[in-house]
Structures are given as structure tokens and as C-alpha cells.
């Protein structure tokens, strides 16, 4: 047995799985109403509020591309359709 099959815990955090992605979500912060739906529906938990408030007093949402697999659920569920899935050039 050459490969060690027992791995250290926390590997899901260490192993970046974002490279599976074909489409990448682009958030239009001008159209965003800061409802937080995208963060709630993200199956990877990689959409989150950045905390900084924009000029309009809204909270920005961003995504962690290290883990985003480009499923597009955020774009589908966004009530104002401010998330666009764009083909990612690698």
C-alpha cells in the first residue's frame, strides 16, 4: 500500500475545489438589494456578506472562488437577477 488513505481532518477546507467550475458568478453590486438570498441558498456556503457597507447603505455580497463550483443557484434565486453566470476562461 503506497498511498496513505487516512487523511488529516479539515481536508475539505484545504483542498480547493473551485477548479471544477465552468461558469463563474458575477455580482452586479449596483443592482444588488442586499437581501442575502444568494448567501442562504449557496450549497457550498461560499457566498457571504463582506461587511463593508456601500454608499447606499447596503451590505456587499461576495463569493469565495476557491470553493465555488459554478452551480448557478445564486443567480437563479436572486430576486433582482443581479448575478450573471459567465463562462470562465482558464
Amino acid at each position: 500500500m503506497k498511498k496513505n488513505l487516512a487523511v488529516e481532518p479539515g481536508s475539505t477546507k484545504k483542498v480547493k475545489t473551485g477548479d471544477w467550475r465552468i461558469f463563474v458568478p458575477i455580482i452586479d453590486h449596483d443592482k444588488c438589494i442586499a437581501c442575502g438570498t444568494c448567501a442562504r441558498v449557496c450549497p457550498e456556503g461560499c457566498v457571504f456578506a463582506v461587511g463593508d457597507q456601500a454608499l447606499q447603505g447596503k451590505v456587499f455580497y461576495e463569493k469565495d472562488l476557491d470553493y465555488c463550483k459554478g452551480c448557478g443557484i445564486c443567480a437563479e434565486e436572486c430576486p433582482v437577477k443581479c448575478i450573471k453566470m459567465e463562462l470562465e476562461e482558464k
Binding site: M1, K2, K3, L5, A6, V7, E8, P9, S11
Partner: protein, 379 residues
Amino acid sequence: MKNCLEGSNAVALMVNMCRPAVVSAYPITPQTHIVEDLSKFKSDGSATFEFVRADSEFAAASIVLGSSASGVRSYTATSSQGLLLMTEVVFTIAGMRLPVVMTVANRAVSGPINIWNDQQDAMTVRDSGWIMLFAETNQEAADLHISAFKIAELTRIPVMVNMDGFVLTHTYEPVEMPSAEMVKKYLPEYKPAAGQFLDTSDPKSLGTFATPEDYIDIRKDLFDDLASSKTVIKKEFISFKKYFGRGGGLVEYYGDKNAKTVFVSMGSVIGTIKDTVDELNEQGEKAAVVKVKCFRPFPVDEIVKVLNKAKNIAVIDKSVSLGQQGILALELKAAMQGASKVNITSVVAGLGGRDITRKDLHKVYIQVQKIGKKVLFLN
């Protein structure tokens, strides 16, 4: 001292002496008396393992997967449809390199519904990465369990001990049982490799995801290790014989040393074939039988060695790869390819519990000497 024991009972007694920490089983059909007896030992207070009743065979296999991953000796038994329901987990146990030992009371699979003996169940999961041993008698079935735990824990490959359903499991035979002390001395406590099991004080993840980058390498590791486990099994059979005074090799030859027509088979039918071979030899025929005790890893060299003088081989299979031939026959053909120009006939017999009689085997002996049919069904 020999006791007259039912096959299942003998195995249960032996498994208890091997001191597993966890036994899990689904308690109704298609189960055997093995786990019924084990649960009785537990309730009588004569067993130390934890007995976990499962809600299906799938769950039973998953439970022993989990307990084995936590670094303790684990055991389960199943049969027929139960093994098929376990299939997914059976592959995972081998893939995760967990030394689980499982008895399979070989029985036919549906459909039609049938509860009698053949070996289709085990042969269907032959590619799962388990070491597969086949017992001829109750004695051998019981003995193989001690070796099974030893081999599994040394190689980190699970071992499946196969014994013919009903023909062995429900039949009484004289069986020599060792004392618990003897077994304890021979089979030490199981100590999993450091850092290779689930432990709250040293957390690890087992059974993780592998991308194309690693998957084929891990499978190749298992392929190589299963192939080289043959050496470990051979050594174990020798040391078992030394210690307990009985047992044999991966492959056993019986009959005329220069036999021209040789039967090859596995399991309890070997007994009937030995009687037939005796009768044939008495009539002046040059007949013999080769018993394949270890089916995975397949002992190619050992088989080629004992069959190099044979002209005709009748492979008696209690299973069939539908659309092809008997499964053991295919293995034999693959093994003998390039090694010998022997004429190999696949004989599919005994499916769903149909008796294989000496009379049948005498007919087979004559038929396989005429080159013709590739597959002969005894029906």
C-alpha cells in the same frame, strides 16, 4: 476432541474464539445460524463483542465498515440476496482497506426465488477486492476463520470465507475445535496501524474523495496488494498447519498423479468429486480433482503447476456468468492460456441447490474427453 457440529454452529464458535469487538448482522432471511448463535453467545454472557442488529444487510455491512474503521476486529455474515444488497459497501470496505471478515453462506440469487445452495452470490462480487476463500468441509470452514482474521489484519484486505449454504451450514459433521486459549495464542489481539483508524485523540478522515489524479493509483495499490497477498495466505496456511496440525494449500490435488482428465471445483462438491475420482481410479481410469481453496487472489502459478499433465479439464461451476460460461472455468482458461493446450470444458451444475451426484460426475468424466461443447449444463 471431535464434536459433531452443525457448520454454522462450528463457525460461530470459532468466530467467538477469534474475539471480534463488533458483530453486526441483519437477523432474518437470508441469514444463517452463524449470527443467530453469535447473538445467543452474547445473551448467554459467553461473548465479549458488541452485537449490533441492523435493519438491512446494507446497514450491517456499513456498521462493520464503521467499526473496523475505528480500529477494532469486526465480523459479519450473510448470504445470497443479502450479499447483493451489501455489494456497494463490500466494494467500499475493500477500497478503504478495512480488515473485515465476513462469512458468506453461498446460496442462489433471485430470480426465480430460491434459497438453496450455489455460489452465484459470492462469484458476483469477485471483483470487489476481497480475499475469497472457499471451504470444502465444516472443519475447513471453521478453521479458515482463524486464518481469515490473521490474513485480513496483516494485509489490510478484507476476507470472505465462503461455505456452501445448507450443504455445510445446516449439516452436522465431526469437527475438531481448538480451545479458546489455543486460538488466543495463535491469533493475537488486533492492533491497527498507527494513524490509520478513527480516533478522537488523533482525528483522521477515512474513505475520502479521490480525483482522477489519485483514484487509479489507489486502485492499482489494491490490485498489487491483493496479488501479493497470495504469499501471506500461503505462509498463514503453513503456520496454521504447524500449529493446529491440519489444513492445506491454496490449491489441493487429489487422485491419480498422472491424471489425464481432471476435475476442478470449489467448495463442498469437492467431497463428491473425490469419491467419484476414487471410483474412477479403482476402474483403472486416470482421474483427479483440483480443489481451489483460494479464489481471490487467483493462484495461477499453483494451478498451472498441478494441471500441467492434464489433457482434459472439467471445471464444475456452481455459478455462471450469463452470456459467457461458468466463472471458475473462465478463470481456468485465463490461467492456462499459453501454459498448456489442455481442453477445458465449463460444466455448470448445482444451480439453486440441484444435487450434483457421482452418477452425474461419471457422465461428465466421459463427456469432457470429447472436444465439443464449450458449456455443459447439468440440468
